[in-house]
């Protein structure tokens, strides 16, 4: 059955194949089941599959959501305690919420431009998103100073701790998104594609997915802090 391959240098040309039997390359190398990398190979030896990257980003988001779900439950439980004092939502957080919503819009604009092939426009929208992201972080930090000015500190009480903690942890994850934006910018500059490739679009889509999730996550945290006392 299987012929021993004793070294990796020799590419198999003819002779018995591992697995035996004829192969049926279907369209795009896909067979009736499985993803069958039996068709065209790219320079890395396998077909580019956008699905791989999209699935992975959803998987990453599942983990992120679980952590924030756990922290949200902790917040709800601890804020229901008798000793909790209500904390006024810093005005800055309203502003930052608006900013991050805008940044999601600008990212969508960027994607649209990219799909139309307008790479310069795409780059500009990405830069705008990035700046809005940084503005968001700045607003968050200012919001912290507002809290401290009101006498609400990190270690005052679990309820107040969460105002700092949620924004902090979310901010750290957002920095990940900002790094993703930098990656998209660098990628475009270095690759200098004449025609926008599927890989470039997938990269943008995947980072956008993460970015929108961070947006949605902040909305959730903001509303939670606002509504649940």
């Amino acid at each position: 059955m299987a012929t021993r391959v004793t070294d990796t240098k020799v590419g198999r040309k003819e002779g018995t194949r591992i697995g035996g039997g004829p192969r049926f390359p279907g369209p795009n190398g896909k067979g009736p089941s499985g993803n069958g990398k039996g068709g065209e190979h790219d320079e890395r030896g396998r077909r580019f599959s956008p699905a791989t990257y999209r699935i992975t980003m959803w998987v990453v988001l599942a983990a992120v959501v679980m952590m924030f779900a756990a922290l949200s439950s902790a917040y709800i439980i601890l804020s229901s305690g008798g000793q909790s004092r209500p904390v006024a939502m810093p005005r800055m957080f309203f502003l930052s919420t608006g900013v991050i919503l805008l940044s999601s819009l600008s990212f969508e604009k960027a994607k649209r431009s990219l799909k139309q092939g307008a790479q310069i426009k795409y780059l500009r929208w990405i830069w705008l998103t990035l700046l809005l992201g940084l503005a968001f972080l700045a607003a968050q930090l200012t919001g912290w100073r507002e809290l401290a000015a009101e006498g609400v500190y990190f270690a005052s009480h679990p309820h107040s701790s969460f105002f700092y903690f949620f924004t902090g942890v979310h901010g750290v994850h957002l920095i990940g998104g900002i790094l993703g934006l930098f990656y998209l910018i660098l990628r475009l500059k270095r690759r200098k594609e004449l025609l926008v490739s599927e890989r470039t679009i997938t990269a943008a889509e995947v980072v956008a997915l993460y970015w929108h999730a961070m947006d949605g996550l902040w909305l959730w945290l903001f509303l939670l802090l606002l509504v649940w006392k």
């Binding site: 035996g20 791989t52 983990a63 756990a70 439950s73 601890l78």
Partner: protein, 611 residues
């Protein structure tokens, strides 16, 4: 076999240079071996700790001179003090649960064999895969460092148990020895481990969903793959919760927050908020820590056992020369265990002070999870029934898994009932239960996997007689160690007691305590046989062919050891299910997954036209 000329094959050359090839390797096979090596080291540390614990419990007050040299603070005059004992308890649990049971079965064997069994060249993200191992390794180093940084406190690490209940774990040094720096390092180590685990999980999930070769439908995957996949999903959804909780705990310890520390505490003569060593706390909930921890902790125990179940199904079928009985039911059972595993965490907390109504709900759900586990056991027996059983060493360990899983799992029926947990909670009955399932059955799964796959990984068999001796001593030994613990728990022996000398009602248990310790010493020593076998076989084992066990799945179709890109550039095509043994009319009593042909029905009768 059709000979075909086709377009030139694209190969992936292995990297050059020792560092790229063996240290910072992107090859899932090397990474798998690295995880296994890590587990092999961690388990020795864990076993040494349990040996010391048994010595202390059986011969309390004895002076062990070697301990005085190694741990002058923890064992002054060679006599272990209570905090030293408790730090052994804590580090043993942490080491074993995280760095043995959550590394080797999934990160070790899963990493090595998942891509090959589904016909892929590597994991989806080799770089992330490498990072997952090295992050885990850093976590291990940080955990070990807790041993050294706690020296002044005369412990070898924190003393909160591997469960680290707050406020004991959250208060810091004021709560006692072993609760200072060592505890900080412990939390950090676990947080790092969470990250490593998550990186691994996302690789497994994406690879399995997206990189199966042609013909490898989901229902044609070996059960090992289903187990690894479900384990990865469990890890993905549970580790973030532990990470979140761990960060909150660390903040309580270093940033003076009060997530888990309520107001008005008076610890070691100091009232909360009156001294710098004990700042003001208010509003925290100790039970919250338990919820967060066990929401992770319960799926974690299924993470520890599911890969072993997968390997057992795989190995039982191979050596019974018979298809797995009820493949589909097995898949559903794996799902059911995984899913239900998220809804039963409260059974660790019945008497914690949480709502008794919640306790009841958790209790009923807990006993429900026994159903898919029982179904799996029946199917294993069904696989063996009517078989033609070959008693090789891997088969012995797989059979041992079945026996021990039943022994350990069945007492879940007792502990899962709220009423019966009232006397049983935190006694040796619990210890017996979880050691039998995790510390023994799961380990047997790994032993079985090692003996089974060693020939494929290294091209040589492990020494069979030595393996069999290893099995016999270990199998009988673990029964002798852990079955008596049930009765100890019934008499009322509490967990985490450094000594049993203080209570009259425990005095009758002395003969059992001694029996258990003797059995433990013998069994631990017997593991040296396993290590010796590993080393010896690497160099002198009998050479193995590509498919020495006459098995059917994809790893046995490729070279031994598999080349860097697993299939020498020619990805296999799968025509059948994974356990086609004893097929009537076939020339051999096994038909490989890659064997084409239409007369013989495929594994699930669907010829790959699903998924």
């Amino acid at each position: 076999m059709a000979v075909e000329a086709h377009e030139s094959v694209h190969r992936h050359e292995p990297p050059k240079g020792f560092i790229r090839k063996y240290i910072f390797s992107l090859d899932h096979k090397v990474i798998g071996i690295q995880y296994i090596l890590l587990a092999l080291i961690a388990v020795v540390v864990g076993m040494a700790m349990s040996l010391l614990m048994r010595l202390n419990l059986s011969w309390p007050g004895t002076s062990w001179p070697v301990l005085e040299t190694l741990f002058p603070g923890g064992a002054p005059g060679g006599v272990m003090n209570p905090e030293f004992y408790l730090s052994l308890v804590t580090m043993h649990g942490t080491m074993m649960v995280f760095f043995v049971l959550t590394t080797a079965p999934q990160g070790g064997f899963g990493n090595y064999f998942l891509p090959i069994q589904i016909g892929a060249e590597d994991m989806a993200f080799p770089f992330l895969n490498m990072m997952s191992f090295w992050v885990t390794f850093v976590g291990f180093v940080v955990l070990l460092s807790a041993i050294f940084f706690s020296g002044a406190e005369s412990t070898i690490g924190p003393i909160g148990g591997w469960t680290g209940y707050a406020p004991l774990s959250a208060l810091g040094q004021i709560a006692g020895p072993g609760q200072g720096m060592g505890m900080n390092l412990w939390v950090i180590s676990i947080a790092i481990f969470c990250v490593g685990s998550l990186l691994g999980a996302l690789n497994f999930i994406t690879t399995l969903l997206n990189m199966r070769t042609r013909g490898m439908s989901l229902m044609r995957m070996p059960l090992t793959c289903w187990a690894w996949f479900t384990t990865a999903v469990l890890a993905l959804l549970s580790f973030p919760v532990l990470l979140g909780g761990g960060i909150l705990l660390l903040l309580d310890r270093v940033a003076h927050t009060s997530f888990f520390i309520p107001a008005g505490l008076y610890v070691s003569g100091v009232l909360s908020g009156t001294q710098e060593s004990f700042p003001l706390h208010t509003g925290g909930s100790p039970i919250l820590w338990q919820h967060l921890f066990w929401f992770f902790g319960h799926p974690e125990v299924y993470i520890a056992i599911l890969p072993g179940m997968g390997a057992t199904s795989h190995i039982l079928s191979t050596f019974a020369r018979k298809p797995v009985f009820g493949y589909r039911a097995m898949v559903f059972a794996i799902f059911a265990i995984g899913l239900l595993g998220f809804f039963v965490w409260g059974h660790h907390m019945f008497i914690s002070g949480m709502s008794p109504y919640s306790a009841m709900t958790f209790s009923i759900l807990t006993l429900s999870i026994g159903v898919p586990s029982a179904v799996k056991t029946f199917n294993w027996l069904g696989t063996l029934w009517g078989g033609k059983i070959r008693f090789t060493t891997p088969m012995l360990f797989a059979l041992g898994f079945v026996s021990l899983f039943v022994a350990g799992g069945i007492t879940g029926l007792v502990l899962g009932q709220t009423s019966l947990d009232l006397p049983m909670h935190d006694t040796y009955f619990v210890l017996a239960h979880f050691h039998l399932v995790m510390g023994v059955a799961s380990i047997f799964g790994m032993f079985a996997a090692t003996y089974f796959w060693f020939p494929k990984m290294f091209g040589r068999f492990m020494n069979e007689p030595l393996g069999k001796i290893h099995f016999w001593i270990t199998f009988v030994g673990v029964y002798c160690i852990f079955v008596p613990m049930h009765t100890m728990g019934m008499v009322g022996m509490p967990r985490r007691f450094a000594q049993f000398t203080e209570y009259e009602f425990l005095k009758t248990l002395h003969p059992l305590v001694m029996f258990v310790s003797i059995a433990a010493i013998i069994t631990i020593l017997a593991q040296l046989l396993f290590y010796a076998n590993l080393v010896w076989s690497l160099f002198r084992g009998r050479r193995a062919e590509d498919n020495p066990w006459e098995a059917t799945t994809l790893e046995w179709t490729t070279a031994t050891p598999p080349p860097h890109d697993n299939f020498a550039g020619l990805l296999p095509t799968v025509y059948r299910g994974p356990y086609e043994f004893a097929v009537p009319g076939a020339p051999n009593d096994y038909v490989m997954q890659t064997e084409p042909g239409s007369e013989v029905t495929s594994g699930d009768g669907h010829e790959g036209h699903r998924h």
